[in-house]
Amino acid sequence: MIRVLLPFHLRNLARVDGEVQLELAGPVTPAAIVDAIEARYPVLRGTIRDHVTKKRRPMLRFFACEEDWSLEPPDTVLPEAVATGKEPFMIIGAIAGG
């Protein structure tokens, strides 16, 4: 079981409270997690990554196990602690503004 933390506005858009829990059959990667999120919550398509290019939106970041995975290739396999649900995969709005 994989635990995913969505930012406040995306939780509201998807109408979920707290963490999202997912089961993935294959390797646990940022792309696979976002695929599963978008499949369960179609309204989030385009909000985390571009509809067409599938590139992460510039002002969102991916964190897990106290590391920033945002700039890693989206098919990078995440640590076992994410795959087992010990640590959450966090999608975070970048700090911006004044």
Binding site: P7, F8, H9, L10, L13, E38, A39, P42, V43, R45, G46, T47, I48, H51, V52, R57, M59, L60, G93, A94, A96
Partner: protein
């Protein structure tokens, strides 16, 4: 008794203001979509309970919301399981909220004069069809017009617009967006749009092809060629449904009119204290009565002398009178953005506008007197009104 429903888009959410036909006591609901920029909301003329909203964010992109119950509940169209199931039973690729330019997108002029690729940023304006609640036109930044015929589940660009010298268009300070869409109520094939900073355009074939309609516009400080066909910073155009060939324009500087569907424009700024501003609108029952809100200059986006004044002309321009009763006449330094003025169709005509200071003002007597409906909203981006039976 009739009622009115005022739809307000702000930097931090949407608000819906309702009142009976007297327009004295108002209910305020919201914020809807709190924390998101709501550039525009508009109801369908053929089904007033159908309202569309453009919800966007620099973080999360573009969402289209739709209400089928007059704004009580909202859903992004095209995101229910049944919307996403293909004919073969497998999920099809999501198209909701997706605005993709058609074909070879090309480039437009950038601030430094170089060419820059088209990039979708947000929807500025939603214009529902006058006859079909499922058909809506959407004005985008970077400048393009999209159309849905399935209630917002999917959108397709009318890409012929970019053929109207798109490579010469250039963003204004607020971006390069299709911010105004006017549908001709007498000719389903005719539509007008306006873009900052490209100009006004018209289609006579339902959006397949477009032509610039900027003859008579002068932009001597912004364009090297004073008679340039495109590149003008048109802030807003408006028409009265009884005379769709007569258009009024608030340009970056200058207030103008055309009596031949944009083929030739004439300056009607007359005695305005300044002819810089953003919104312009037409009285619901008097096609020659028009309203503007003069702003000091392109460098000072607030009213002259700190006095918030709507100016009204009852002669289609040139002769203007200030409307001040109920509006702050000292220490007022707000702006009124281009999509933030509208009129209802009651008798007497109601006029509404919102400010960047978060006030929404209403007049139930054609502008003779004004009252604040709300005072402390986030900066107002758009105001629309529905007159309900």
């Amino acid at each position: 008794m009739s009622t009115v429903r005022v739809l307000v888009g702000t930097r931090k959410g949407a608000f819906i203001l309702t009142a009976d036909g007297k327009r004295k006591n108002w209910d305020v609901s919201g914020p809807h979509f709190g924390g998101w920029e709501i550039y525009h909301l508009k109801g369908s003329p053929s089904d007033p309970n159908r309202i569309y909203a453009s919800q966007s964010s620099g973080w999360f992109g573009q969402i289209i919301q739709r209400s089928d119950d007059g704004g009580k509940t909202w859903n992004p169209p095209g995101t229910k399981p049944e919307d996403l199931m293909g004919a073969d039973g497998f999920p099809k690729a999501g198209v909701s909220n997706m605005f993709v330019y058609e074909g070879e997108v090309g480039t437009h002029k950038w601030y430094d004069g170089t060419q820059h690729p088209w990039e979708f940023k947000r929807i500025w304006h939603l214009e529902p069809s006058t006859t079909d609640p499922d058909t809506v036109y959407a004005g985008a930044e970077d400048a393009a017009i999209f159309k849905t015929t399935d209630g917002g589940k999917s959108w397709k660009e009318l890409s012929g617009l970019r053929s109207a010298k798109g490579s010469l268009w250039q963003p204004g300070a607020g971006g390069m967006a299709v911010h105004t869409i006017l549908l001709d109520p007498k000719n389903a094939k005719r539509m007008y749009i306006a873009i900052s900073a490209a100009g006004a355009f018209r289609t006579d074939d339902g959006g397949k092809s477009w032509k610039p309609i900027n003859r008579g516009l002068k932009s001597q400080y912004e364009l090297p060629d004073p008679d340039a066909e495109v590149g003008h910073c048109v802030h807003r155009i408006a028409l009265h449904p009884s005379r769709p060939d007569v258009l009024f324009m608030q340009k970056h500087w200058d207030v103008l009119r055309t009596d031949n569907a944009g083929d030739q424009w004439t300056d009607v700024g007359g005695n305005l204290p300044t002819d810089f501003g953003f919104p312009i609108d037409v009285h619901a029952h008097e096609p020659e009565t028009i309203y503007v809100v003069p702003i000091t200059s392109d460098s000072l986006h607030y009213p002259p002398e700190g006095k918030l004044r709507v100016y009204r002309s009852k002669s289609g321009g040139n002769d203007w009178e200030p409307l001040t009763k109920g509006l702050p006449q000292k220490d007022c330094y707000v702006n009124v953005l281009r999509d933030s003025m509208c009129v209802d169709s009651l008798e007497p005509c109601g006029v509404y506008f919102g400010t960047t200071g978060g006030q929404v003002y209403g007049s139930a007597d054609g502008g003779d007197s004004w009252n604040p409906i709300v005072r402390d909203l986030p900066a107002v981006l758009s105001v629309e009104v529905q007159t309900l039976p």
